[in-house]
Symmetry: C2
Subunit: 497 residues, 2 copies
Amino acid sequence: MAKQKKDNRPKAALPKGFRDIGAEELRSLTSMVATIREVCEVYGFEPLSTSAIEYTEALGKFLPDQDRPNAGVFSFQDDDEQWMSLRYDLTAPLARYVAENYDALPKPYRRYQTGSVFRNEKPGPGRFREFTQFDADTVGTDNPAADAEFCMLAPDALERLGIPRGSYRMNVNSRKVLDGVLEAAGIDPAGEADARRRLTVLRAIDKLDRLGSEGVALLLGPGRKDESGDFTEGAGLAPKAIETILGFVTIAPGERGATLERIAPLIERSARGMEGLAELARMDDLLSAGGYGADRVVVNPGVVRGLEYYTGPVFEAELTFEARAEDGTLARFGSVGGGGRYDGLVARFRGNEVPATGFSIGVSRLYAALKALGRTGEAASRGPVVVLVLDQARLPDCQRMAQSLRAESIRAEVYLGTSGLKAQMRYADKRGAPVVVIEGDEERQRGEVTLKDLIEGSRLAGGIRDHQEWKEARPAQVSVPAADLVAEVRRLLSRHG
Amino acid sequence: MAKQKKDNRPKAALPKGFRDIGAEELRSLTSMVATIREVCEVYGFEPLSTSAIEYTEALGKFLPDQDRPNAGVFSFQDDDEQWMSLRYDLTAPLARYVAENYDALPKPYRRYQTGSVFRNEKPGPGRFREFTQFDADTVGTDNPAADAEFCMLAPDALERLGIPRGSYRMNVNSRKVLDGVLEAAGIDPAGEADARRRLTVLRAIDKLDRLGSEGVALLLGPGRKDESGDFTEGAGLAPKAIETILGFVTIAPGERGATLERIAPLIERSARGMEGLAELARMDDLLSAGGYGADRVVVNPGVVRGLEYYTGPVFEAELTFEARAEDGTLARFGSVGGGGRYDGLVARFRGNEVPATGFSIGVSRLYAALKALGRTGEAASRGPVVVLVLDQARLPDCQRMAQSLRAESIRAEVYLGTSGLKAQMRYADKRGAPVVVIEGDEERQRGEVTLKDLIEGSRLAGGIRDHQEWKEARPAQVSVPAADLVAEVRRLLSRHG
């Protein structure tokens, strides 16, 4: 009977791919997001929040990440049979919002937004089905100054978060320039006919980091057999075309002007390519005028992530320091955000094209980076001062002590359970309390309270087994006049920074 | 053809019951939530975030608001056919979290959480299908000190948000005391047999505000016909029983001790009722010791909202000032949050009961209250300083000016569109810019920039039609040395507070 009852209980677990975020990480995330928000505010962006649920048809199929073609959305039908979905990013809802409120919005419209997005796809290590994005977008202008702005805002935000200059770089590339290169290689950069081959080429280039020039050359040409013997079909390009494309994507980023000069001859016969180059040159001007040199922002033709989706300049924030990956190997931290210029999203609703550009930060990934750098502000997550309760009848006094600490903005709580001293000490330890406050009978008669410094104490003390032993050992503890409680607690806290 | 194309476009609209939140409200909400969070932190609560999606069976059917029996959840099946749902509150996920992590958590476990919750129900004015809650809960202690704490924390939070003392009150009641009254009225407060009658009684009492004692007496007795002629069946209680119940719920809240003394004789033969009374008395002790008098926290037997759900003390934060309702009538603002002690939620998973108590704030409702009081911090949402661009070739200079303002934490942006001066001025107006910065050719030659005070200017100026007229009229504008840009902008901003 008891067993059966147990079997009927629901399981206390989350569906795969979802997770809870505990106090330490959540505090860091909250403070991180607040910092990014401040940077967006000072740049003049306005906050926006859209609902998590949209009509499925309004979201469309604009998943930027074509690496995961199976990526799906969580969908359900409304009472009127219309399909609704959870948003999978913050860009599609922005397009709907802009289309819906077009006439009322200032043009350009610049907004930032943060919130959960949902992907109904196979979860994996570090890949969740709900995660937080932070986006900033500028809608309604084709001015490359808007693209350049994100290449200044992102470095400002990273540095404000404590990532030192030299530990990150913004990689800038251009879809138009790549199209020019494809054109030079004899691939139609826009037509339907070459669509499949274009995709194969983009995917091949994206593997440059992993396979090197030789591997990519095979994927651009006849195809490639990997170590396991699996064969990947190639794009079937002629050697000359392969050389043109590799010549572009292997240009090592250096001074931006020099990089642009190296690109120019590759695309000089493509109007679209030259247009893209002019945009990059304009961004270079603005970045240079702003003091953002090649130590922070480079033109990097090797970066093609998202190029299928974007229509003009693209940019990626890359952390260049090494960190230990999940498998224990050291590697560059890699991308923590990216963006670029996109068209057509608002046009889906309105017919006419509304140029737009934006940048999206992967909040969890950036948190992992800050953690690897020790910049997540652990001090802020220190536990509260815990006032122990030796006698429930004295709880009002204990509560007053906690109040006097709170009044001075010191995190403090009264132990609210009903267990004895030993359990209360364990509780305080588990809470990460830096200090406990104890007012025993004797202390009270002398007008004193006892403060125990748990941070210091944990270095000294053995286990405290009972009140008697406690009174005899008193490791790292002091009796102070009750009137000096707040000042003395503050003194102890300041010891530990 | 064009028409057909147009018809194929998705509609730029949200499903009914969902909404976007624009900059002004969102900034206020963000700052409001940050303030409540700070109060929870200083009380020693820890932040938690759980996922928006849970297994449906883990959420169970613990919708606290039984007024809306049709309230449903948004659900969908996972690949493995298991049903998942969007959370409808933050309490059910907390119960799942505590059950899942029981051994690792400190006991009591005290956490706060804020986030969207979803109700798949008919939307109405001010009733949305996605809205934000802010919850704080203490799990794992039956100590009334934990209940009392919320009756101190809530007033602290309201006052920190700018709601003055005297404009709100915490109403405290007790499910156990009410059960004692029901017992005295001959209704079994726990058994299944009287379950339906109990519900009728609770719903009748809940209408006290609207129907008065006479109307409630009818609903407790033979039933009531309303003005439209509709008949509501009554609980069928005898006159003596009705008198007992009305005697309880019409006790006007005054000094807490006096109220408790008036309640005592009504329930003196119910052990459960007296237990509830002792808990309220203990809370009274602690509240009094903390300096929270009857000007802030009262015992109010007339408050029964949620009593079906709660198992011990219940509390409600009520705003007592009047505000204009949507229909234009003046009325008390009413409840902005509530909570109480609940059992069984964690027991669903674990078998053994884990006592818990908590408080939930309706974030949108509280925002509406702050707005009615003019406490939403409009100043913080002032638009950025806009640097106009008279000549795209000079954009780098404009950008440098914006940067110099940002470096001093002044919100500033360069106009990023490509339109002329007139459109740029309209843009600045629409953005709520307090100041625009203009550097024309002549100014630059003199090493000066022009600042236009739009707040002052909007009081003076007529419409500026072209650059020529602009130069002649120059309402509320000054030329200042370019080197003094930041100082002069700061001076203009400080004029408007």
